[in-house]
């Protein structure tokens, strides 16, 4: 059982006009096996939350804390966080020229586990995971994300989620740019991993459609750098019907 606890989190980014505060006091607790949907309009700070949890150097935490099973996440490097069991599926996965997917996956698995995976089962696992995500085995020989379509990049993120077996996954707009079939494949992949490992999920999305496939236990509406409203799955339905207008109007006032 793992718990990610975010308390009073304030985050700034450096801009030409000086530091700009994007997160203004976020409180969130995610336990193993739970799925939390963070929803909100563009620019509300959803992705900042994702990158801050993963430790992207662009974001500076000015106040508050992130704790993962008693460890101070903010004092950990990016790779230490990953090795502790935190995974970020990125909205825009990065291309790494000249590094083959198979080599990348094995290097990552070795780093996370602290030892190289046994060759025979590993090759089988990779093949199975790719096949589950409808990725041709030839992707193993291709360079990481290079020349992948938007959908292929997202599926490759979920292959990593499946193989690296983190305790807590942050999915940053994994649904963006996916057609209906790809959305279903990706969602099924997340659900399968969750079922197998009891993964905790922080699902960041702008739209409600992915929530038809990945059922959230909790829904948090993110507006202007903090959580404006929280509720159960019914809140997502309400957002579907009403949009974010009533929240943005409130904050403008």
């Amino acid at each position: 059982m793992s718990t990610l606890t975010i308390s009073d989190l304030h985050v700034s980014v450096e801009t030409d006009q000086g530091p700009r505060e994007i997160l203004r006091g976020v409180d969130l607790v995610i336990n193993s096996g739970e799925t939390h949907a963070v929803m909100g309009p563009n620019g509300s700070g959803k992705s900042t939350l994702a990158y801050t949890i993963a430790g992207h150097p662009k974001y500076t935490v000015t106040q508050g804390s992130i704790d993962f099973d008693g460890q101070n996440v903010l004092e950990m490097s990016v790779d230490e966080r990953a090795r502790a069991g935190i995974f970020l599926a990125m909205q825009y996965p990065v291309e790494i020229p000249g590094v083959a997917v198979s080599n990348f996956l094995r290097t990552a698995k070795t780093a996370i586990d602290g030892e190289a995976p046994p060759i025979r089962t590993w090759v089988k696992d990779v093949k199975q995971s790719m096949s589950d995500m409808r990725m041709d085995p030839s992707f193993g020989e291709r360079n990481v994300n290079e020349g992948f379509s938007g959908g292929e990049k997202k599926r490759h993120e979920i292959v990593q989620l499946d193989l690296l077996k983190p305790k807590m996954a942050v999915l940053d707009e994994t649904d963006s740019g996916l057609d209906v079939d790809a959305l279903r494949i990706v969602s099924e992949g997340v659900n399968r991993v969750k079922e197998e490992t009891g993964l905790g999920v922080l699902l960041i999305t702008h739209y409600t459609r992915i929530l038809r496939y990945i059922k959230p236990d909790f829904v948090h509406v993110f507006v202007n750098g903090r959580i404006a409203e929280e509720g159960g799955p019914a809140l997502a339905d309400r957002l579907e019907a009403e949009g974010y207008d009533r929240f943005t109007e409130t904050t403008d006032a």
């Binding site: 993963a54 790779d79 990065v94 790494i96 000249g98 590094v99 990348f104 290097t107 780093a111």
Partner: protein, 389 residues
């Protein structure tokens, strides 16, 4: 390294030196066997302005030992090796010196090493040169490839050297040739080389310069695509350490219709104060209709004070071409690539190694010699153990 094309063209990504240098077209450059005809060795001449002249004085003035260069030959298939006087008809068919060091080496050399590949079979000649010593030498090699032959020639350069040499590569009609010059010299070694390739009709040349060690290594290949549908792929892969100067003046001369060229040089500058120079000249002559050419140079700067000069030049004298392009980019690590790898648990050091390795792999994968690929792969593993963080 920023992967997007937009980043390639942002001014900040360029390290091009002295944008106001006087332009001398490659077509107009002098060539001669006579030293007096050539530009003096000076920081003001186009041929020498990037080269550390104080470190190559033994090769640009006085005389050098022109006796046969000690080498061990490993020959498989239909190829042979011999020494011929410099007056032999095989010598001087592929080009003439364009600068003083090349002309002096030509004069100093007693006999040319002649490597002959006949058309009967495929062949491979591995030339190990690991006992040249530190005194100044001059040498000349003629690679003579018969029509329809398929051959691979490798120069495996190690140890000490103060070497100036010319290499002629005469590629007969429809032949397929791979020439690799692999440098793992010690860090005081100096090598100046001019490679002159003449590529015949429907023939293809793959030329690769791989420099992993050396003090001053300046290897300037010229590919003269002299007949219809000749093609050349010129590759470069280098890692530059502190104090090393690696220079490549690459020249592709499209001189016949439907000729094709690709130039791809990639380097990692991993030592403080390392210096690399790449000048890529492509000339598409007025008769070279339907040609297709592309040249690129990319450098990854890994250390403070390292400097990469990268200068592509394209001269086109006909409107009727299939394609002509060039790219040049020099930069540091792409932080987003490192973040992505580290977010998968990979340590910063290992992430940097992966990125550098991947960056250089692109060129290594294009060298069609398995033994070179394996050797360079292992060597890079060792070299990249010490990538600075």
């Amino acid at each position: 390294m920023a992967p997007s094309t937009s980043a390639e063209h942002s001014p900040a990504a360029f390290y091009n030196a002295d944008a106001l240098a006087p332009i001398q077209t490659r077509r107009e450059r002098l060539s001669s066997f006579s030293i007096d005809d050539l530009n003096p060795v000076s920081p003001r001449s186009a041929e020498w302005r990037y080269t550390p002249l104080d470190r190559i004085e033994q090769l640009t003035a006085g005389t050098r030992d022109g006796s046969d260069i000690p080498a061990v030959y490993d020959i498989t298939g239909a190829a042979s090796v011999s020494h011929m006087p410099m007056t032999d008809a095989l010598v001087g068919r592929c080009g003439r010196p364009e600068e003083v060091a090349s002309a002096r080496a030509w004069q100093d050399t007693h006999n040319a090493l002649v490597i002959t590949a006949s058309a009967q079979d495929t062949s491979e000649v591995w030339v190990l040169r690991d006992s040249l010593g530190a005194s100044a030498r001059a040498g000349h090699t003629v690679i003579d490839v018969a029509p329809f032959a398929k051959t691979t020639i490798v120069f495996d350069n190690r140890g000490s050297a103060m070497l100036s040499e010319n290499v002629e590569i005469h590629v007969g009609e429809s032949a397929t040739v791979v020439v690799v010059s692999l440098q793992q010299w010690n860090d005081t070694a100096v090598q100046l080389a001019s490679h002159f390739a003449r590529v015949g009709a429907n023939a293809s040349l793959t030329h690769a310069v791989v420099t992993l060690g050396g003090g001053v290594v300046r290897i300037n290949p010229t590919a003269h695509l002299a007949e219809t549908a000749a093609s050349a792929t010129l590759l470069g892969l280098y890692t530059a350490d502190s104090g090393s100067h690696i220079e490549s003046q690459v020249y592709v001369n499209h001189d016949a219709p439907n000729t094709v060229s690709r130039v791809n040089y990639k380097g990692a500058l991993r030592g403080a104060g390392a210096r690399t120079v790449w000048i890529g000249d492509v000339l598409i002559g007025s008769d070279a209709t339907g040609t297709d050419s592309y040249e690129q140079n990319r450098n990854l700067i890994l250390a403070e004070g390292a400097r990469a000069d990268s200068i592509p030049n394209l001269e086109i004298e006909t409107g009727d071409i299939a394609g002509a392009g060039h790219a040049s980019a020099t930069g540091r690590f792409d932080d987003e690539q490192l973040f992505y790898l580290r977010s998968r648990g990979i340590s910063e050091e290992e992430a940097r190694r992966l990125v550098v390795r991947g960056f250089l792999n692109e060129v290594l994968a294009m060298i069609p010699v398995p033994r070179i690929q394996a050797l360079v792969h292992d060597e890079l593993d060792l070299a990249l153990e010490e990538v600075p963080v």
